[in-house]
Assembly symmetry: C2
Homo-oligomer: 307 residues x 2
Amino acid sequence: MNKLLIVGTVAFDAIETPFGKTDKILGGAATYIGLSASFFNLQSAIVSVVGDDFPQEHLDLLTSKNIDISGIEIVKGGKTFFWSGLYHNDLNSRDTLVTELNVLADFQPKVPQNYKDADVVMLGNLHPLVQSSVLDQMEKKPKLVVLDTMNFWMDCALPELLEVIKRVDVITINDEEARQLSGEYSLVKAAAKIQEMGPKYVVIKKGEHGALLFHNREVFFAPALPLEDVFDPTGAGDTFAGGFSGFIAQSENISFGNMKNAIIYGSNLASFCVEKFGTERMETLSKAEVAIRLQQFKSLTQFDIEI
Amino acid sequence: MNKLLIVGTVAFDAIETPFGKTDKILGGAATYIGLSASFFNLQSAIVSVVGDDFPQEHLDLLTSKNIDISGIEIVKGGKTFFWSGLYHNDLNSRDTLVTELNVLADFQPKVPQNYKDADVVMLGNLHPLVQSSVLDQMEKKPKLVVLDTMNFWMDCALPELLEVIKRVDVITINDEEARQLSGEYSLVKAAAKIQEMGPKYVVIKKGEHGALLFHNREVFFAPALPLEDVFDPTGAGDTFAGGFSGFIAQSENISFGNMKNAIIYGSNLASFCVEKFGTERMETLSKAEVAIRLQQFKSLTQFDIEI
C-alpha cells in the first residue's frame, strides 16, 4: 500500500452559521484531510501538534480510520490550537472571531521515520516554514507533493511561502488567493503565472462554483454538486485536498488524466463534508454513499456530443 | 429545415467596461439570439420592432445570416429602443445608465404567417404580455417553447410573468432571479419550485460560473470556458439562449440528454460573445472556430472514472 503523509493542524473549532452554532468541536486541516483520504486504499499518517487538553476520543477517531497518529505531538500543559468563525448568510464569506495559536506557535514538525519515504505528501495550510521543514525531512523524493495555503501567509510570510511553493508539484488555493498571489484577475492568467513559480499543477478552488485544474495549457473543471442544503462549509477545502491527494496516492498515477479523476473525487467528498457541522458527516460516511454520489457527478457533467 | 421563431428586442446599446466604451452599437436580445442560432442548420425569423433611425446595415447583417426579418416592424418617425450600461471591475455586476423604451413602449408583436407553425419558439427577454401574445398567435403547438426573462419583470409585472411561465417548457434565468422568483436560496430548491410553476426544464445561468439544467430530479452542469480575457459580457445570456434553442431546433430532439448538449452549445457560443464588444465577435465567428472550442469544452469537463 502506498503512503500518504499529511501535515496540518489538528484543532478545536467553534462554528456559527445561519443554521446553528457549535461549542468547541474537532477541527483542523489535517483532521479533515485525514478523514477524507481514509476513503482510499492507502497508509496515512498525520504530522501535527495538540495540547494535553485534546480529548483522547478525537485521537481514537483518527486511529479508527487507520490514520497513524504517532506524528501528532502532545505538548504537556499546552493548549490546542483554537479557531472560531462566523459564516454570513450566503455561506460564501466568513469572519474569524478567534484565533488562538497556542501549541502551534512553536510547532517543530517531526516526520515519523517510516513516512520519510511517503509516496505522496499533502502539506495542509500551515506556516510555510513548517511545510518546508517537512519536505527537508523526507529521505526519498515523493512522487507528488501537494500544498494548500491561504491569503494569511501571502500577507505575512510571502518570501517563505514562495520558497516552499518552488518545491511542490501541486498547489491548491481559492480564486481570490490565486488573484492575490499572481496579481492577475483572469484565473487563466493567474494559473499561468503561478505555474512559473514552481508548481506544475495549479488547482483553483471556487467553493460552491467548483474547482479548476491547470497544467501547461490544459484545463479541467469539476463542479460542486448542487445541494439542497449546505450547513457548514468548514473543512470543505481540506476535505477536497484529502480526496485529491488520497486518490493520487492510491492510484500511483500522476498523469493529467488521473488528476482530473482526483479532482472529481475531491469534489465528491467535499460535497458530503458541508452537509453537517464540522467533521460529523465525514465520520459516518460510507464508501457506498461515496460511490452513489460519484455516479451523480458523472451524470452532472458528462454529455455525448460527437465532434 | 426546422423553424425557430425568435422574439425579443433589436436595439442600440452603449456599453462601458473597464476595457473601453462604445457609442451606440447594435444590440438587443433578439439580435444576439439570432446571431447565435445562425450557427445551426435551420430557418429562423425575428419578431421585433425598431424605429426608422435604425440603420439598414444592421438589418442587412441579420439578413446575411439567413435570418428572416419580415417580422421586424419599422415604426415611421419612431426611435429604436436604447440601453446603456456600465460594468464594474469584476464584470459580474453592472449599472444601467439609460433605458429608453421608445418604440418598444407600444410594441404589438406580429408573427409572420409562415412562422405560425415554428418548431421552436424562443421568447427573449421582453414584457411578459408580449411573450404571451406571440404564443397566442401560434397556429400549431411548438415542439418546444423557451422563455428568457429577468428580475425587472418580477418586480413590475409578476402576475403577467407567472401567466406566461405556465405556458413554456424551458425557462432560462440567472441565479439571483431564480432565488427571487422562488423565494428559495438553494438553487436545487429554487429549480424545484419553478418547475411547479410550469416549465418542465429550468436553466439557471451563473455567468462566469456556468449554467445548470434541472428537470425533475435530474441536474446537468455546463461550465463557462475559462478565458484569458473577458471584454464585455453584454449579450452573453442571449447568445447562450440562441445556442440552446438553435441546437434544439436543428436536432428536433427534446430529450434531457439532448438538452445537455444544447446547454454545452449555448455555453460554447456565449464564450465567444464576451471576447469583444457587442456583437463584433459573433459577426465574424466561423463554424470551424466553434467546433474547435467544442473540443475544449469536452476536455474541460470529461473524465474517465469507471464506477
